[in-house]
């Protein structure tokens, strides 16, 4: 009982401190949309309304979207179940940047296909974000428990103010959606919230909206 009380108390203190960072000036914020390529459209259909609203909000605020999709040639070594799942959904024909299912704006970034769960483990995204002066990263995507979680963990370690939008993420299962977004990620990123909460915070940070 004591351990539960102490844990709840410490969680509350850390969460309150992390919320003090809550600010999303458009020029310092980017949204990372992971694993939402055309070959995943059927799987992601339940997320479409929320993702569409998210992209509309970003466009109105001038917040860039970074699109990063998993795929490419599978390595010869044994795959973990999660990575195997991503390769099973991947279809090279429907994962080309010019076939992206979402409207890409001029200030958006479309990255090459990656073979890692963390978007920072390969490529030069970190450098691109630093050059743009981005400090606040907001994550959404097909698999909360796979690419979103690995990338969000990595982002907060790299020093970005990191937010995950729970209602804009799918997962390999309902159980893992809950595990990632309600239990684990709140310990490792600055905030997990809904897209509506985030829209309100964006409006507060950008009074011109």
């Amino acid at each position: 009982m004591l351990s539960v009380l102490l844990d709840s108390f410490s969680k509350m203190i850390v969460s309150r401190a992390m919320k003090s960072y809550r600010s999303f000036p458009a020029e310092k914020t980017a949204v990372l949309l992971l694993d939402t390529q055309a070959s995943h459209v059927e799987y992601l259909s339940g997320l479409h309304p929320n993702l569409t609203n998210l992209l509309d909000m970003c466009k109105a605020a001038g917040i860039p979207i970074v699109y990063s999709d998993f795929g490419g040639l599978a390595p010869s070594n044994r795959l973990s179940p999660g990575v195997e799942r991503l390769y099973s959904l991947f279809d090279a024909q429907y994962s080309k940047p010019d076939q992206h299912v979402w409207p890409v704006n001029d200030n958006d970034i479309v990255l090459s296909l990656r073979t890692t769960l963390s978007v920072f483990m390969e490529g030069d995204l970190l450098k691109q974000l630093e050059e743009l002066g981005i400090e606040h990263l907001v994550f959404a995507g097909g698999f909360a428990d796979l690419s979103v979680e690995s990338s969000a963990r990595h982002a907060s370690e790299l020093g970005f103010h990191t937010t995950v939008l729970a209602d804009c993420c799918g997962a390999t299962s309902r159980q893992n959606h809950k595990a990632s977004l309600e239990v684990t990620l709140p310990r490792l990123v600055h905030e997990v919230c809904t897209s509506l909460d985030w829209f309100e915070a964006v409006k507060k940070s950008n009074p011109n909206l």
Binding site: L2, S3, V4, L6, D7, S10, K11, I13, V14, A17, M18, Y21, P75, N77, R78, S80, P81, G82, V83, R85, T116, L117, S118, M121, E122, E135, D145, L146, E149, S150, R153, H154, S156, E157, L158, G159, F160, H161, T162, T172, Q175, N176, K178, A179, S180, V183, T184, R187, L188, V189, H190
Partner: protein, 210 residues
């Protein structure tokens, strides 16, 4: 899964007093799950087994707190905030020392300290493992869903085969522990075993390779 001794390492994450000792600062919180899984006994048993089978033993320790090197970044990681608040894993005190019975021996690898949660990010762990030709990591330590899982996620991206030991890890709460060992571990690890299952694998004829 095959365990080639020359390519397999037992990776212990944060086996430090502030987590594992009854005198440690976080022990009043983590002791519940530690007790549930018999963490100390299981980790000691696997460490003994790993040494007997000539596996490489690797330590990935957390940053030891010193006021003069405390993180000053604009957006502290939640773990950095907690560490700073409680002065966890003090560099000069008891909390930052390896737990007695799980400490490194001569010949073991000790990676540089990780600042937040992944044992690979900003450290020399990958370089040290590569230099020994390690391709398979058997992982244990603290905490189940933070440093252990972050390290496993980085290891997966770096191409390692991963075995996670679900009764050789513990964390803040039973809910956190279940989220990891019954949930996300099964997506990111190549196998999730108990200490006794690992022992059986090693005992089967032809499975352990020297």
């Amino acid at each position: 899964m095959k365990y080639e001794a020359s390519r397999t390492a037992f990776l212990l994450i944060d086996p430090l007093n502030d987590f594992l000792s009854p005198l440690g600062k976080t022990w009043p919180i983590v002791r519940r799950v530690m007790k549930d899984v018999s963490l100390i006994d299981n980790v000691k048993e696997v460490l003994t087994l790993a040494r007997a089978k000539d596996l490489t033993i690797v330590y990935a320790p957390h940053y030891r707190y010193k006021p003069e090197t405390a993180p000053t970044r604009k957006y502290l990681h939640p773990s950095q905030y907690g560490q700073k608040l409680l002065r966890l894993f003090s560099a000069n005190g008891f909390g930052g020392k390896f737990y007695s019975g799980l400490e490194p021996r001569e010949g073991d690898l000790i990676a540089s300290e990780h600042a937040c949660s992944s044992g690979f990010i900003g450290t020399d762990l990958h370089e040290k493992l590569q230099a020994r030709g390690i391709t398979h990591l058997i992982m244990a330590g603290m905490l189940s869903n933070t440093c252990v899982e972050s390290t496993a996620r980085s290891a997966l991206d770096l191409g390692y085969d991963i075995t996670l030991l679900k009764d050789c890890v513990a964390t803040w709460s039973r809910e956190d522990h279940r989220a990891a060992v019954d949930g996300t571990y099964h997506q990111i690890a190549h196998e999730v075993l108990t200490a006794s299952q690992l022992k059986s694998h090693f005992s089967e004829a032809g499975v352990a390779y020297a």
